[in-house]
Symmetry: C2
Subunit: 276 residues, 2 copies
Protein backbone atom coordinates (compact mmCIF):
# COMPACT_ATOMS: atom_id res chain seq x y z
CA UNK A 1 0.00 0.00 0.00
CA UNK A 2 1.32 3.43 -0.94
CA UNK A 3 2.03 6.04 1.71
CA UNK A 4 -0.66 8.70 2.20
CA UNK A 5 -0.23 11.80 0.07
CA UNK A 6 0.76 14.87 2.06
CA UNK A 7 1.03 17.62 -0.54
CA UNK A 8 -0.11 18.63 -4.02
CA UNK A 9 3.26 18.38 -5.73
CA UNK A 10 2.04 15.41 -7.83
CA UNK A 11 -1.52 16.63 -8.28
CA UNK A 12 -2.63 17.15 -11.86
CA UNK A 13 -6.21 17.92 -12.86
CA UNK A 14 -7.77 17.47 -16.28
CA UNK A 15 -9.49 20.51 -17.76
CA UNK A 16 -12.58 18.40 -18.41
CA UNK A 17 -12.92 17.78 -14.66
CA UNK A 18 -14.03 21.41 -14.35
CA UNK A 19 -15.67 21.50 -17.77
CA UNK A 20 -17.85 24.59 -17.13
CA UNK A 21 -14.73 26.74 -16.67
CA UNK A 22 -12.82 28.25 -19.58
CA UNK A 23 -9.22 27.09 -19.44
CA UNK A 24 -8.02 30.52 -18.34
CA UNK A 25 -10.15 30.26 -15.19
CA UNK A 26 -8.99 26.69 -14.63
CA UNK A 27 -5.34 27.79 -14.85
CA UNK A 28 -5.82 30.57 -12.32
CA UNK A 29 -7.89 28.55 -9.86
CA UNK A 30 -5.78 25.38 -10.11
CA UNK A 31 -2.67 27.44 -9.36
CA UNK A 32 -4.41 29.16 -6.44
CA UNK A 33 -5.16 25.72 -4.95
CA UNK A 34 -1.59 24.52 -5.32
CA UNK A 35 -2.29 22.14 -8.19
CA UNK A 36 1.00 21.25 -9.91
CA UNK A 37 -0.03 19.94 -13.31
CA UNK A 38 -2.73 20.21 -15.94
CA UNK A 39 -3.85 17.81 -18.57
CA UNK A 40 -5.52 19.79 -21.32
CA UNK A 41 -8.45 18.50 -23.32
CA UNK A 42 -8.49 19.68 -26.91
CA UNK A 43 -11.94 21.25 -26.62
CA UNK A 44 -10.53 23.61 -23.97
CA UNK A 45 -8.16 25.00 -26.62
CA UNK A 46 -10.85 25.94 -29.11
CA UNK A 47 -10.28 29.51 -30.31
CA UNK A 48 -7.11 29.92 -28.23
CA UNK A 49 -3.50 30.58 -29.14
CA UNK A 50 -2.24 27.15 -28.12
CA UNK A 51 1.39 28.12 -27.51
CA UNK A 52 0.32 31.13 -25.44
CA UNK A 53 -2.00 28.90 -23.40
CA UNK A 54 0.86 26.52 -22.74
CA UNK A 55 3.06 29.41 -21.60
CA UNK A 56 0.30 30.66 -19.34
CA UNK A 57 0.12 27.26 -17.64
CA UNK A 58 3.87 27.34 -17.09
CA UNK A 59 3.82 30.92 -15.81
CA UNK A 60 1.17 29.83 -13.29
CA UNK A 61 3.72 27.35 -11.96
CA UNK A 62 2.22 24.21 -13.42
CA UNK A 63 3.41 21.52 -15.80
CA UNK A 64 1.48 20.61 -18.90
CA UNK A 65 1.14 16.89 -18.27
CA UNK A 66 -0.64 15.70 -21.38
CA UNK A 67 -3.06 16.51 -24.17
CA UNK A 68 -6.37 14.60 -24.27
CA UNK A 69 -7.08 13.06 -26.58
CA UNK A 70 -6.00 11.35 -29.76
CA UNK A 71 -7.05 7.97 -31.03
CA UNK A 72 -10.40 6.84 -32.45
CA UNK A 73 -8.56 5.11 -35.26
CA UNK A 74 -11.09 2.41 -36.28
CA UNK A 75 -13.62 3.34 -38.92
CA UNK A 76 -15.61 1.58 -41.60
CA UNK A 77 -14.00 3.28 -44.58
CA UNK A 78 -10.43 3.91 -45.65
CA UNK A 79 -11.26 7.61 -45.96
CA UNK A 80 -12.54 7.79 -42.41
CA UNK A 81 -9.49 5.95 -41.10
CA UNK A 82 -7.25 8.40 -42.95
CA UNK A 83 -9.23 11.29 -41.48
CA UNK A 84 -8.58 9.84 -38.02
CA UNK A 85 -4.85 9.62 -38.73
CA UNK A 86 -4.89 13.21 -39.98
CA UNK A 87 -6.64 14.30 -36.81
CA UNK A 88 -4.01 12.55 -34.72
CA UNK A 89 -1.33 14.38 -36.67
CA UNK A 90 -3.04 17.65 -35.77
CA UNK A 91 -3.11 16.54 -32.14
CA UNK A 92 0.65 16.01 -32.26
CA UNK A 93 1.09 19.54 -33.62
CA UNK A 94 -1.17 20.87 -30.87
CA UNK A 95 0.71 18.98 -28.17
CA UNK A 96 4.00 20.36 -29.47
CA UNK A 97 2.63 23.91 -29.49
CA UNK A 98 1.18 23.49 -26.02
CA UNK A 99 4.32 21.92 -24.60
CA UNK A 100 2.60 18.67 -23.69
CA UNK A 101 5.01 15.72 -23.69
CA UNK A 102 2.24 13.12 -24.02
CA UNK A 103 -0.99 12.54 -25.92
CA UNK A 104 -3.53 10.19 -24.35
CA UNK A 105 -5.09 7.85 -26.91
CA UNK A 106 -8.68 6.70 -26.58
CA UNK A 107 -8.23 4.09 -29.22
CA UNK A 108 -11.72 3.80 -30.68
CA UNK A 109 -14.17 1.11 -31.79
CA UNK A 110 -16.96 0.85 -34.33
CA UNK A 111 -20.34 -0.55 -33.32
CA UNK A 112 -20.90 -4.01 -34.85
CA UNK A 113 -17.37 -4.13 -36.27
CA UNK A 114 -15.36 -7.13 -35.02
CA UNK A 115 -13.11 -6.13 -32.14
CA UNK A 116 -10.14 -7.91 -33.69
CA UNK A 117 -10.51 -5.74 -36.79
CA UNK A 118 -10.76 -2.58 -34.71
CA UNK A 119 -7.65 -3.63 -32.82
CA UNK A 120 -5.72 -4.03 -36.04
CA UNK A 121 -6.91 -0.62 -37.23
CA UNK A 122 -5.77 0.85 -33.91
CA UNK A 123 -2.31 -0.60 -34.32
CA UNK A 124 -2.14 0.57 -37.94
CA UNK A 125 -3.27 4.05 -36.95
CA UNK A 126 -0.75 4.41 -34.15
CA UNK A 127 2.06 3.13 -36.37
CA UNK A 128 1.09 5.68 -39.02
CA UNK A 129 1.79 8.60 -36.70
CA UNK A 130 4.78 7.40 -34.67
CA UNK A 131 7.38 9.06 -36.86
CA UNK A 132 5.71 12.42 -36.52
CA UNK A 133 5.30 11.96 -32.77
CA UNK A 134 8.98 11.04 -32.45
CA UNK A 135 10.06 14.03 -34.51
CA UNK A 136 8.01 16.28 -32.25
CA UNK A 137 9.22 14.54 -29.09
CA UNK A 138 5.65 13.65 -28.11
CA UNK A 139 4.85 10.32 -26.48
CA UNK A 140 1.59 8.46 -27.13
CA UNK A 141 -0.24 6.78 -24.24
CA UNK A 142 -2.70 4.01 -25.07
CA UNK A 143 -5.50 4.18 -22.51
CA UNK A 144 -7.31 0.89 -22.08
CA UNK A 145 -10.96 1.76 -21.47
CA UNK A 146 -13.57 0.03 -19.33
CA UNK A 147 -15.24 -2.87 -21.16
CA UNK A 148 -18.54 -0.97 -21.11
CA UNK A 149 -17.03 1.19 -23.86
CA UNK A 150 -15.98 -1.69 -26.11
CA UNK A 151 -18.81 -1.02 -28.56
CA UNK A 152 -17.91 2.49 -29.60
CA UNK A 153 -14.95 3.97 -27.72
CA UNK A 154 -12.18 1.43 -27.32
CA UNK A 155 -11.54 -2.09 -28.51
CA UNK A 156 -8.66 -2.06 -26.01
CA UNK A 157 -10.27 -2.87 -22.68
CA UNK A 158 -7.60 -4.38 -20.45
CA UNK A 159 -4.11 -3.41 -19.40
CA UNK A 160 -2.90 -6.77 -20.67
CA UNK A 161 -4.09 -5.80 -24.14
CA UNK A 162 -2.52 -2.36 -23.95
CA UNK A 163 0.76 -3.93 -22.85
CA UNK A 164 0.53 -6.48 -25.65
CA UNK A 165 -0.13 -3.71 -28.16
CA UNK A 166 2.89 -1.77 -26.92
CA UNK A 167 5.01 -4.89 -27.28
CA UNK A 168 3.75 -5.39 -30.83
CA UNK A 169 4.38 -1.77 -31.84
CA UNK A 170 7.73 -1.71 -30.03
CA UNK A 171 8.44 2.02 -30.15
CA UNK A 172 9.88 4.09 -27.30
CA UNK A 173 7.23 6.70 -28.13
CA UNK A 174 4.27 4.42 -27.41
CA UNK A 175 3.19 3.44 -23.90
CA UNK A 176 0.15 3.27 -21.64
CA UNK A 177 -2.08 5.56 -19.59
CA UNK A 178 -3.43 3.66 -16.57
CA UNK A 179 -6.81 4.95 -15.36
CA UNK A 180 -8.22 3.36 -12.21
CA UNK A 181 -11.80 3.91 -13.38
CA UNK A 182 -11.30 1.67 -16.38
CA UNK A 183 -9.16 -1.01 -14.80
CA UNK A 184 -9.90 -1.35 -11.08
CA UNK A 185 -12.05 -4.50 -11.44
CA UNK A 186 -9.37 -6.48 -13.30
CA UNK A 187 -8.01 -9.41 -11.29
CA UNK A 188 -4.81 -9.13 -13.32
CA UNK A 189 -4.30 -5.45 -12.59
CA UNK A 190 -1.42 -5.69 -10.16
CA UNK A 191 0.48 -8.12 -12.38
CA UNK A 192 -0.12 -6.08 -15.53
CA UNK A 193 0.90 -2.82 -13.87
CA UNK A 194 4.12 -4.55 -12.87
CA UNK A 195 4.62 -5.77 -16.41
CA UNK A 196 3.86 -2.32 -17.83
CA UNK A 197 6.49 -0.83 -15.57
CA UNK A 198 9.09 -3.45 -16.47
CA UNK A 199 8.46 -2.67 -20.13
CA UNK A 200 9.08 1.02 -19.41
CA UNK A 201 5.60 1.78 -20.71
CA UNK A 202 3.80 3.33 -17.76
CA UNK A 203 3.39 6.88 -19.07
CA UNK A 204 0.44 8.25 -17.05
CA UNK A 205 -1.81 7.54 -14.08
CA UNK A 206 -5.42 8.78 -13.84
CA UNK A 207 -7.64 8.69 -10.78
CA UNK A 208 -11.29 9.15 -9.76
CA UNK A 209 -13.79 6.74 -8.20
CA UNK A 210 -16.65 4.37 -9.10
CA UNK A 211 -19.94 5.40 -7.50
CA UNK A 212 -22.69 3.00 -6.43
CA UNK A 213 -25.06 3.24 -8.14
CA UNK A 214 -23.45 4.63 -11.27
CA UNK A 215 -26.33 6.29 -13.07
CA UNK A 216 -24.73 7.23 -16.38
CA UNK A 217 -22.29 5.20 -18.41
CA UNK A 218 -20.18 8.24 -19.27
CA UNK A 219 -20.61 11.11 -16.88
CA UNK A 220 -21.14 9.81 -13.36
CA UNK A 221 -17.62 9.35 -12.11
CA UNK A 222 -16.99 9.94 -8.43
CA UNK A 223 -14.53 11.91 -6.37
CA UNK A 224 -11.77 9.86 -4.81
CA UNK A 225 -13.18 8.18 -1.70
CA UNK A 226 -16.78 8.18 -2.90
CA UNK A 227 -16.71 4.73 -4.37
CA UNK A 228 -15.24 1.26 -4.60
CA UNK A 229 -11.88 1.80 -6.29
CA UNK A 230 -8.87 1.01 -4.05
CA UNK A 231 -7.01 4.04 -5.35
CA UNK A 232 -4.19 4.04 -2.82
CA UNK A 233 -3.53 0.36 -3.34
CA UNK A 234 -3.38 0.80 -7.11
CA UNK A 235 -1.17 3.88 -6.72
CA UNK A 236 1.13 1.71 -4.67
CA UNK A 237 1.40 -0.81 -7.49
CA UNK A 238 2.10 2.02 -9.92
CA UNK A 239 4.77 3.58 -7.74
CA UNK A 240 6.44 0.21 -7.15
CA UNK A 241 7.33 0.23 -10.84
CA UNK A 242 9.33 3.41 -10.31
CA UNK A 243 6.66 5.69 -11.73
CA UNK A 244 7.05 9.15 -10.25
CA UNK A 245 4.78 11.17 -12.50
CA UNK A 246 1.55 12.97 -11.70
CA UNK A 247 -1.65 11.62 -10.21
CA UNK A 248 -4.17 13.01 -12.67
CA UNK A 249 -7.71 13.68 -11.50
CA UNK A 250 -10.06 13.03 -14.40
CA UNK A 251 -13.73 13.20 -13.43
CA UNK A 252 -16.62 13.35 -15.88
CA UNK A 253 -19.68 14.13 -13.82
CA UNK A 254 -22.95 15.72 -14.76
CA UNK A 255 -23.66 16.17 -11.05
CA UNK A 256 -20.38 17.97 -10.30
CA UNK A 257 -20.45 20.01 -13.50
CA UNK A 258 -23.89 21.26 -12.45
CA UNK A 259 -22.52 22.69 -9.19
CA UNK A 260 -20.12 25.44 -8.14
CA UNK A 261 -16.73 24.65 -9.68
CA UNK A 262 -14.68 26.53 -7.09
CA UNK A 263 -16.28 24.49 -4.31
CA UNK A 264 -15.77 21.34 -6.36
CA UNK A 265 -12.09 22.16 -6.84
CA UNK A 266 -11.70 22.47 -3.08
CA UNK A 267 -13.31 19.08 -2.64
CA UNK A 268 -11.02 17.58 -5.27
CA UNK A 269 -7.91 18.76 -3.42
CA UNK A 270 -9.28 17.47 -0.10
CA UNK A 271 -10.27 14.13 -1.59
CA UNK A 272 -6.90 13.85 -3.29
CA UNK A 273 -5.07 14.27 0.01
CA UNK A 274 -7.39 11.98 1.97
CA UNK A 275 -8.28 9.20 -0.43
CA UNK A 276 -5.62 8.84 -3.10
Amino acid sequence: MAQPITDTSKLCIHTITVKPWPIETAIDRFAAHGVSGMTVWRDALQGRDIAATGRRIGEAGMDVVSLCRGGFFPAETEAARQAAIDDNRRAIDEAAALGAPLIVLVCGAVPKQPLVLSRQQIQDGIEAVIDQAAAAGIRLGIEPLHPMYADSRSAITTLRQANDLCAAIDSPWVGVAVDVYHLWWDPELEAQIGRCGEMGKLFAFHICDWRTPTEDLLNDRGLMGEGSIPIRQIRGWVEETGFNGFNEVEIFSNRYWAGDQEQFLGRIVDAYLQHS
Copy 2:
Protein backbone atom coordinates in the same frame (compact mmCIF):
# COMPACT_ATOMS: atom_id res chain seq x y z
CA MET B 1 -18.46 -19.77 -36.95
CA ALA B 2 -21.52 -21.76 -35.90
CA GLN B 3 -24.14 -22.81 -38.43
CA PRO B 4 -27.26 -20.63 -38.60
CA ILE B 5 -30.08 -21.74 -36.35
CA THR B 6 -33.04 -23.18 -38.23
CA ASP B 7 -35.52 -24.08 -35.52
CA THR B 8 -36.50 -23.33 -31.94
CA SER B 9 -35.52 -26.69 -30.46
CA LYS B 10 -32.71 -25.07 -28.44
CA LEU B 11 -34.51 -21.81 -27.69
CA CYS B 12 -35.00 -21.04 -24.03
CA ILE B 13 -36.34 -17.72 -22.76
CA HIS B 14 -35.96 -16.31 -19.27
CA THR B 15 -39.15 -15.27 -17.53
CA ILE B 16 -37.60 -11.88 -16.79
CA THR B 17 -37.29 -11.22 -20.52
CA VAL B 18 -41.09 -10.80 -20.56
CA LYS B 19 -41.25 -9.40 -17.06
CA PRO B 20 -44.71 -7.79 -17.37
CA TRP B 21 -46.29 -11.22 -17.92
CA PRO B 22 -47.24 -13.53 -15.06
CA ILE B 23 -45.45 -16.85 -15.50
CA GLU B 24 -48.68 -18.60 -16.49
CA THR B 25 -49.01 -16.30 -19.51
CA ALA B 26 -45.34 -16.75 -20.34
CA ILE B 27 -45.73 -20.54 -20.30
CA ASP B 28 -48.72 -20.43 -22.64
CA ARG B 29 -47.27 -17.90 -25.06
CA PHE B 30 -43.76 -19.40 -25.13
CA ALA B 31 -45.27 -22.78 -25.96
CA ALA B 32 -47.44 -21.24 -28.67
CA HIS B 33 -44.32 -19.79 -30.30
CA GLY B 34 -42.47 -23.10 -30.21
CA VAL B 35 -40.07 -22.11 -27.45
CA SER B 36 -38.47 -25.25 -26.00
CA GLY B 37 -37.18 -24.21 -22.60
CA MET B 38 -37.76 -21.74 -19.78
CA THR B 39 -35.42 -20.33 -17.22
CA VAL B 40 -37.50 -19.23 -14.27
CA TRP B 41 -36.64 -16.21 -12.14
CA ARG B 42 -37.57 -16.61 -8.51
CA ASP B 43 -39.74 -13.48 -8.49
CA ALA B 44 -41.98 -15.17 -11.09
CA LEU B 45 -42.74 -17.91 -8.55
CA GLN B 46 -44.00 -15.58 -5.83
CA GLY B 47 -47.31 -16.87 -4.48
CA ARG B 48 -47.28 -19.94 -6.75
CA ASP B 49 -47.19 -23.65 -6.03
CA ILE B 50 -43.67 -24.19 -7.32
CA ALA B 51 -44.00 -27.89 -8.12
CA ALA B 52 -47.27 -27.29 -9.94
CA THR B 53 -45.65 -24.51 -11.94
CA GLY B 54 -42.83 -26.82 -12.92
CA ARG B 55 -45.33 -29.47 -14.04
CA ARG B 56 -47.23 -26.85 -16.05
CA ILE B 57 -44.03 -25.96 -17.93
CA GLY B 58 -43.46 -29.62 -18.71
CA GLU B 59 -47.06 -30.17 -19.80
CA ALA B 60 -46.65 -27.23 -22.18
CA GLY B 61 -43.85 -29.20 -23.81
CA MET B 62 -40.95 -27.20 -22.42
CA ASP B 63 -37.93 -28.00 -20.27
CA VAL B 64 -37.18 -26.10 -17.10
CA VAL B 65 -33.62 -25.05 -17.91
CA SER B 66 -32.58 -23.25 -14.76
CA LEU B 67 -33.64 -21.19 -11.78
CA CYS B 68 -32.38 -17.60 -11.57
CA ARG B 69 -30.84 -16.73 -9.27
CA GLY B 70 -28.77 -17.65 -6.29
CA GLY B 71 -25.56 -16.06 -5.13
CA PHE B 72 -24.97 -12.63 -3.57
CA PHE B 73 -22.73 -14.26 -0.98
CA PRO B 74 -20.48 -11.34 0.05
CA ALA B 75 -21.68 -9.19 2.92
CA GLU B 76 -20.15 -7.06 5.62
CA THR B 77 -21.34 -9.13 8.58
CA GLU B 78 -21.23 -12.80 9.43
CA ALA B 79 -25.00 -12.71 10.00
CA ALA B 80 -25.62 -11.27 6.54
CA ARG B 81 -23.35 -13.85 4.94
CA GLN B 82 -25.24 -16.62 6.78
CA ALA B 83 -28.52 -15.13 5.60
CA ALA B 84 -27.21 -15.30 2.03
CA ILE B 85 -26.27 -18.94 2.48
CA ASP B 86 -29.71 -19.65 3.92
CA ASP B 87 -31.32 -17.96 0.93
CA ASN B 88 -29.25 -20.10 -1.42
CA ARG B 89 -30.44 -23.18 0.45
CA ARG B 90 -34.02 -22.06 -0.16
CA ALA B 91 -33.17 -21.57 -3.83
CA ILE B 92 -31.96 -25.16 -3.99
CA ASP B 93 -35.25 -26.33 -2.47
CA GLU B 94 -37.15 -24.22 -4.99
CA ALA B 95 -35.12 -25.56 -7.90
CA ALA B 96 -35.79 -29.11 -6.76
CA ALA B 97 -39.51 -28.43 -6.46
CA LEU B 98 -39.60 -26.74 -9.85
CA GLY B 99 -37.60 -29.47 -11.55
CA ALA B 100 -34.75 -27.11 -12.50
CA PRO B 101 -31.42 -28.93 -12.84
CA LEU B 102 -29.36 -25.75 -12.45
CA ILE B 103 -29.25 -22.57 -10.38
CA VAL B 104 -27.51 -19.56 -11.90
CA LEU B 105 -25.34 -17.74 -9.38
CA VAL B 106 -24.89 -13.98 -9.53
CA CYS B 107 -22.07 -14.09 -7.06
CA GLY B 108 -22.33 -10.68 -5.41
CA ALA B 109 -20.07 -7.84 -4.28
CA VAL B 110 -20.16 -5.20 -1.56
CA PRO B 111 -19.45 -1.55 -2.44
CA LYS B 112 -16.07 -0.45 -1.06
CA GLN B 113 -15.22 -3.97 0.12
CA PRO B 114 -11.99 -5.32 -1.43
CA LEU B 115 -12.73 -7.55 -4.39
CA VAL B 116 -10.36 -10.22 -3.13
CA LEU B 117 -12.35 -10.44 0.10
CA SER B 118 -15.64 -10.67 -1.79
CA ARG B 119 -14.17 -13.41 -3.94
CA GLN B 120 -13.20 -15.42 -0.87
CA GLN B 121 -16.70 -14.95 0.57
CA ILE B 122 -18.14 -16.15 -2.73
CA GLN B 123 -16.06 -19.30 -2.64
CA ASP B 124 -16.95 -19.88 1.01
CA GLY B 125 -20.64 -19.36 0.29
CA ILE B 126 -20.71 -21.74 -2.63
CA GLU B 127 -18.80 -24.39 -0.71
CA ALA B 128 -21.29 -24.07 2.16
CA VAL B 129 -24.19 -25.15 -0.04
CA ILE B 130 -22.60 -27.75 -2.33
CA ASP B 131 -23.61 -30.74 -0.22
CA GLN B 132 -27.24 -29.70 -0.26
CA ALA B 133 -27.11 -29.01 -4.00
CA ALA B 134 -25.55 -32.42 -4.62
CA ALA B 135 -28.15 -34.16 -2.46
CA ALA B 136 -30.89 -32.45 -4.46
CA GLY B 137 -29.16 -33.13 -7.78
CA ILE B 138 -28.99 -29.40 -8.58
CA ARG B 139 -25.98 -27.90 -10.34
CA LEU B 140 -24.71 -24.41 -9.56
CA GLY B 141 -23.60 -22.15 -12.42
CA ILE B 142 -21.26 -19.25 -11.58
CA GLU B 143 -22.10 -16.41 -13.93
CA PRO B 144 -19.22 -13.98 -14.43
CA LEU B 145 -20.78 -10.54 -14.75
CA HIS B 146 -19.71 -7.54 -16.80
CA PRO B 147 -17.04 -5.45 -15.02
CA MET B 148 -19.51 -2.58 -14.76
CA TYR B 149 -21.18 -4.62 -12.00
CA ALA B 150 -18.01 -5.22 -9.98
CA ASP B 151 -19.02 -2.70 -7.32
CA SER B 152 -22.24 -4.29 -6.15
CA ARG B 153 -23.27 -7.37 -8.13
CA SER B 154 -20.31 -9.59 -8.84
CA ALA B 155 -16.67 -9.64 -7.89
CA ILE B 156 -16.34 -12.34 -10.57
CA THR B 157 -16.04 -10.42 -13.84
CA THR B 158 -14.23 -12.64 -16.31
CA LEU B 159 -14.61 -16.19 -17.54
CA ARG B 160 -11.02 -16.83 -16.54
CA GLN B 161 -11.95 -16.01 -12.94
CA ALA B 162 -15.04 -18.19 -13.05
CA ASN B 163 -12.98 -21.06 -14.44
CA ASP B 164 -10.34 -20.51 -11.77
CA LEU B 165 -13.01 -20.53 -9.07
CA CYS B 166 -14.45 -23.78 -10.42
CA ALA B 167 -10.98 -25.28 -10.36
CA ALA B 168 -10.49 -24.15 -6.76
CA ILE B 169 -13.86 -25.50 -5.62
CA ASP B 170 -13.43 -28.69 -7.64
CA SER B 171 -16.95 -30.08 -7.37
CA PRO B 172 -18.90 -31.74 -10.19
CA TRP B 173 -21.88 -29.66 -9.04
CA VAL B 174 -20.24 -26.30 -9.68
CA GLY B 175 -19.71 -24.87 -13.17
CA VAL B 176 -20.24 -21.73 -15.23
CA ALA B 177 -23.02 -19.86 -17.00
CA VAL B 178 -21.60 -18.00 -20.02
CA ASP B 179 -23.55 -14.86 -20.94
CA VAL B 180 -22.46 -13.02 -24.06
CA TYR B 181 -23.58 -9.67 -22.63
CA HIS B 182 -21.10 -9.91 -19.80
CA LEU B 183 -18.19 -11.42 -21.66
CA TRP B 184 -18.23 -10.43 -25.33
CA TRP B 185 -15.50 -7.76 -25.01
CA ASP B 186 -12.94 -10.11 -23.42
CA PRO B 187 -9.95 -10.80 -25.68
CA GLU B 188 -9.51 -14.11 -23.86
CA LEU B 189 -13.08 -15.23 -24.41
CA GLU B 190 -12.48 -17.91 -27.04
CA ALA B 191 -9.62 -19.42 -25.07
CA GLN B 192 -11.50 -19.38 -21.80
CA ILE B 193 -14.63 -20.90 -23.34
CA GLY B 194 -12.41 -23.69 -24.63
CA ARG B 195 -10.89 -24.13 -21.20
CA CYS B 196 -14.33 -24.12 -19.55
CA GLY B 197 -15.45 -26.85 -21.90
CA GLU B 198 -12.35 -28.95 -21.31
CA MET B 199 -12.99 -28.69 -17.59
CA GLY B 200 -16.55 -29.94 -18.14
CA LYS B 201 -17.84 -26.74 -16.59
CA LEU B 202 -19.88 -25.10 -19.33
CA PHE B 203 -23.34 -25.42 -17.80
CA ALA B 204 -25.36 -22.69 -19.54
CA PHE B 205 -25.28 -20.18 -22.40
CA HIS B 206 -27.17 -16.87 -22.33
CA ILE B 207 -27.68 -14.49 -25.25
CA CYS B 208 -28.86 -10.94 -25.99
CA ASP B 209 -27.05 -7.95 -27.51
CA TRP B 210 -25.18 -4.77 -26.54
CA ARG B 211 -26.91 -1.64 -27.87
CA THR B 212 -25.13 1.57 -28.90
CA PRO B 213 -25.67 3.75 -27.02
CA THR B 214 -26.53 1.74 -23.93
CA GLU B 215 -28.57 4.15 -21.85
CA ASP B 216 -29.00 2.23 -18.61
CA LEU B 217 -26.41 0.09 -16.87
CA LEU B 218 -28.96 -2.56 -15.98
CA ASN B 219 -32.02 -2.55 -18.18
CA ASP B 220 -31.07 -1.59 -21.71
CA ARG B 221 -30.07 -4.91 -23.22
CA GLY B 222 -30.76 -5.42 -26.89
CA LEU B 223 -32.39 -8.08 -29.00
CA MET B 224 -29.98 -10.34 -30.86
CA GLY B 225 -28.79 -8.45 -33.94
CA GLU B 226 -29.35 -4.99 -32.52
CA GLY B 227 -25.85 -4.51 -31.23
CA SER B 228 -22.17 -5.32 -31.28
CA ILE B 229 -21.98 -8.81 -29.81
CA PRO B 230 -20.80 -11.50 -32.27
CA ILE B 231 -23.37 -13.96 -30.93
CA ARG B 232 -23.00 -16.58 -33.65
CA GLN B 233 -19.24 -16.59 -33.36
CA ILE B 234 -19.40 -17.01 -29.58
CA ARG B 235 -22.07 -19.73 -29.96
CA GLY B 236 -19.63 -21.47 -32.27
CA TRP B 237 -16.91 -21.41 -29.60
CA VAL B 238 -19.42 -22.76 -27.08
CA GLU B 239 -20.61 -25.55 -29.36
CA GLU B 240 -17.04 -26.54 -30.25
CA THR B 241 -16.65 -27.60 -26.62
CA GLY B 242 -19.44 -30.14 -27.10
CA PHE B 243 -22.07 -28.01 -25.39
CA ASN B 244 -25.48 -28.95 -26.69
CA GLY B 245 -27.74 -27.22 -24.20
CA PHE B 246 -30.13 -24.36 -24.69
CA ASN B 247 -29.49 -20.89 -26.04
CA GLU B 248 -31.15 -18.80 -23.35
CA VAL B 249 -32.53 -15.39 -24.25
CA GLU B 250 -32.14 -13.12 -21.24
CA ILE B 251 -33.04 -9.50 -21.97
CA PHE B 252 -33.54 -6.83 -19.31
CA SER B 253 -35.01 -3.85 -21.12
CA ASN B 254 -37.11 -1.00 -19.88
CA ARG B 255 -37.92 -0.19 -23.47
CA TYR B 256 -39.13 -3.69 -24.36
CA TRP B 257 -40.94 -4.18 -21.05
CA ALA B 258 -42.86 -0.98 -21.79
CA GLY B 259 -44.22 -2.42 -25.05
CA ASP B 260 -46.55 -5.20 -26.12
CA GLN B 261 -45.06 -8.48 -24.87
CA GLU B 262 -46.71 -10.69 -27.49
CA GLN B 263 -45.18 -8.59 -30.26
CA PHE B 264 -41.85 -8.62 -28.42
CA LEU B 265 -41.97 -12.42 -28.15
CA GLY B 266 -42.46 -12.64 -31.89
CA ARG B 267 -39.45 -10.42 -32.41
CA ILE B 268 -37.37 -12.54 -30.02
CA VAL B 269 -38.09 -15.69 -32.01
CA ASP B 270 -37.30 -13.92 -35.30
CA ALA B 271 -34.09 -12.40 -33.92
CA TYR B 272 -33.10 -15.76 -32.48
CA LEU B 273 -33.40 -17.44 -35.86
CA GLN B 274 -31.70 -14.66 -37.79
CA HIS B 275 -28.96 -13.40 -35.49
CA SER B 276 -27.96 -16.09 -33.00
